[in-house]
């Protein structure tokens, strides 16, 4: 059972197939050790703000990166993004939008709201793996997160 206080990647994805493929891709690069998956926006916010189901979590322990899908039930990806980026502390966590949508208004809005990166899920699996690996590599290994600063 992963320690919910030591999560590196928070994956917010409602489609179980996409979730499985993303995890598989990350596993290939050994980046999936401290991964937690939530299926909608409400759960994502509950996790990060340590409330509801995640009441017992330590709030200060934030993931190194959040992979966020846009099409989510209940609270949408963009709403989650907005909430996170308006919070003084949560704002520092890098958010990578991972979605099927290439439609321009979504991309623009995401960046306006403060997304750090926008990645489109490719149909071809090899490309998908490649994309996820690179993502994981960059945000977990190369990028110097705020958390690392404090550890």
């Amino acid at each position: 059972m992963t320690d919910l206080n030591a999560i590196d990647i928070l994956l917010v994805e409602d489609n179980p197939r996409d979730a499985e493929l993303i995890v598989r891709a990350l596993k290939k690069k050994h980046l999936a050790n401290n991964l937690h998956i939530v299926e909608d926006g409400v759960e994502a916010l509950d996790f990060l703000f340590a409330r509801g189901r995640y009441d017992g979590r330590r709030r200060e322990d934030m993931p190194k990166v959040i992979l966020l899908d846009l099409k989510l039930p209940r609270v949408s990806g963009l709403e989650v993004l907005q909430t996170l980026k308006s919070d003084g502390r949560m704002r520092a966590i890098p958010v990578v939008i991972v979605t099927s949508s290439a439609e321009d208004p979504d991309v623009e809005t995401a960046y306006k709201l403060g997304a750090n990166s926008y990645v489109i899920k490719p149909v071809q699996f090899e490309m998908f793996i490649e994309a996820m690996s690179r993502l994981g590599d960059y945000w977990l290994t190369l990028n110097h997160s705020m958390k690392q600063n404090r550890d």
Binding site: N15, R17, D18, E20, A102, E103, V123, Q124, F125, E126
Partner: protein, 450 residues
């Protein structure tokens, strides 16, 4: 410009009076000359001469009186006749004609006034005849014309106290040679029928405008629906495709020990078909997006564009085996992004179909006439069977199998759609094995279809 009226001129010189006094003069002179001679001859004595002279004198007065009476009577009859003719003309004209003096009183008026107002207006003041409200509306014009200006205006005028009719009215000042205004003429034509038609046309126009606005709103709504549709396709169809691809891959990777060669082949077929479906969706979406995109027409340097597209589509090493020739291409008036797409599709087709030749020869040129510019691109590649030329531009229509050449068959459909939206046409000629020429026309200067 001579502003004086005939009345002015006749104050000094008048052919009529000249004639009468002329006849009188001549008669008088002749009588005096002849009668004196005659009297002198027939008179027996000087006393008789005196008496004859006296009677001659009386005779002269009586005869010339009768002559004058007769002359003047005839003259007056003539004048009356011409007045009558004038009045006949005035009364027969379907307009209000009158003369008004400086006291704003009607001096002369034609029959129309009686028909219009129901009574004779001569001697009455304008204010009386038109009523207070109407009089104050036009009093400004009346004042201006009494200052010497010719005025023309349209106004409504009550007819026989019941309906309102419309008249086109002119006020023409009557000026003497020294510029003094003595009154003015009124000419008013009934334009009620025309006004009605004008109103009807205006109403029709307004209704038309409303309908155009409605239809445009409907069109916008349809467009938005289409966009939402494309959007949902791009999300909803891709996700299952991704799953098909991905899980097939998992199968291959995780179960490779269990799968035999045939099993692996089947998996790769599944993946390939899923990939193909992805391409089809992408192409369909492009096609739909390009059909809906607004055309922002501007100056486009077609030669530079073609060169740049060629550069985009080829790598340095590939260009060694390609002979490219681009002639003088006239600039076009159109949407740069859309025309860019046209060149991409046409040039990539030329490259693709000549890819199996040792040396690919691609030529691009143009010719123009008064109405349009025709651009063409020729390649020495695989060509196509001219029998099926009609299918060439259909969506997803292909004349070559997948084994021969890659592609979904939507490229030319996109070219046709874009060119048509610019007001032009596309066509192609080709022969199997001998290459093909694709041509498209664009209207010259500023005409587009939408």
């Amino acid at each position: 410009m001579d502003n004086s009226t005939p009345a002015t001129r006749s104050a000094i010189y008048n052919p009529g009076s000249l004639r009468i006094s002329g006849i009188y003069l001549v008669t008088g002179v002749l009588w005096i000359l002849l009668s004196d001679k005659l009297a002198a001859q027939i008179a027996p004595s000087p006393e008789m001469l005196t008496t004859i002279s006296i009677y001659k004198g009386w005779m002269y007065v009586i005869v010339t009186s009768i002559l004058l009476y007769w002359l003047i009577l005839r003259h007056i009859a003539e004048v009356h006749e011409s007045e009558e003719r004038l009045r006949l003309v005035m009364d027969s004209l379907p307009a209000l004609i009158s003369y008004i003096d400086t006291n704003q009183r009607y001096q002369v008026s034609n029959k129309m006034y009686e028909e219009w107002f129901g009574y004779k207006v001569e001697g009455r003041r304008i204010e009386e005849v038109l009523g207070n409200r109407k009089y104050h509306e036009i009093s400004g014009f009346i004042e201006k014309t009494l200052q010497g200006e010719t005025i023309n205006f349209e106004t409504d005028l009550q007819h026989l106290g019941q309906e309102n009719r419309y008249v086109n009215t002119s006020f023409v000042p009557d000026k003497s040679t020294d510029g003094v205004v003595r009154g003015f003429f009124v000419l008013a034509q009934d334009i009620t029928a025309r006004k009605q038609t004008e109103n009807e046309i205006q109403q029709l126009n307004e209704k038309l405008e409303e309908r155009v606005i409605e239809r445009t709103a409907q069109l916008h709504a349809v467009n938005r629906e289409l966009e939402a549709f494309s959007y949902s396709i791009s999300h909803d169809l891709r996700a299952p495709l991704r799953a098909i691809n991905g899980y097939t891959q998992i199968l291959i990777e995780d179960y490779k020990t269990v799968l035999d060669d045939e099993g692996k082949r089947i998996c790769s077929v599944i993946s390939a078909e899923a990939k193909r479906m992805g391409e089809l969706i992408d192409d369909l979406l492009s096609f739909s997006r390009l059909s809906r995109k607004e055309i922002n027409a501007t100056y486009v340097d077609m030669k530079a564009l073609a060169y740049s597209v060629y550069g985009e589509l080829t790598r340095e090493v590939e260009r060694e085996r390609i002979d490219l020739k681009i002639g003088a291409l006239p600039p076009a008036n159109g949407d740069p992004a859309l025309l860019h797409q046209v060149w991409i599709n046409l040039i990539s087709n030329a490259l693709k179909f000549s890819s199996k030749k040792d040396r690919a020869i691609i030529e691009i040129g143009a010719q123009g006439n008064n109405d349009e510019n025709i651009y063409w691109i020729r390649d020495n590649g695989a060509g196509f069977d001219i029998q099926y030329v009609d299918k060439l531009f259909g969506v997803f229509q292909r004349l070559h199998s997948d084994d021969e050449f890659d592609g979904t068959g939507v490229g030319l459909a996109i070219v046709q759609r874009i060119v048509q939206r610019h007001g032009g046409r596309v066509w192609a000629e080709g022969e199997t094995g001998k290459g093909a020429i694709f041509s498209f026309s664009l209207p010259r200067q500023g005409e587009t279809n939408d």
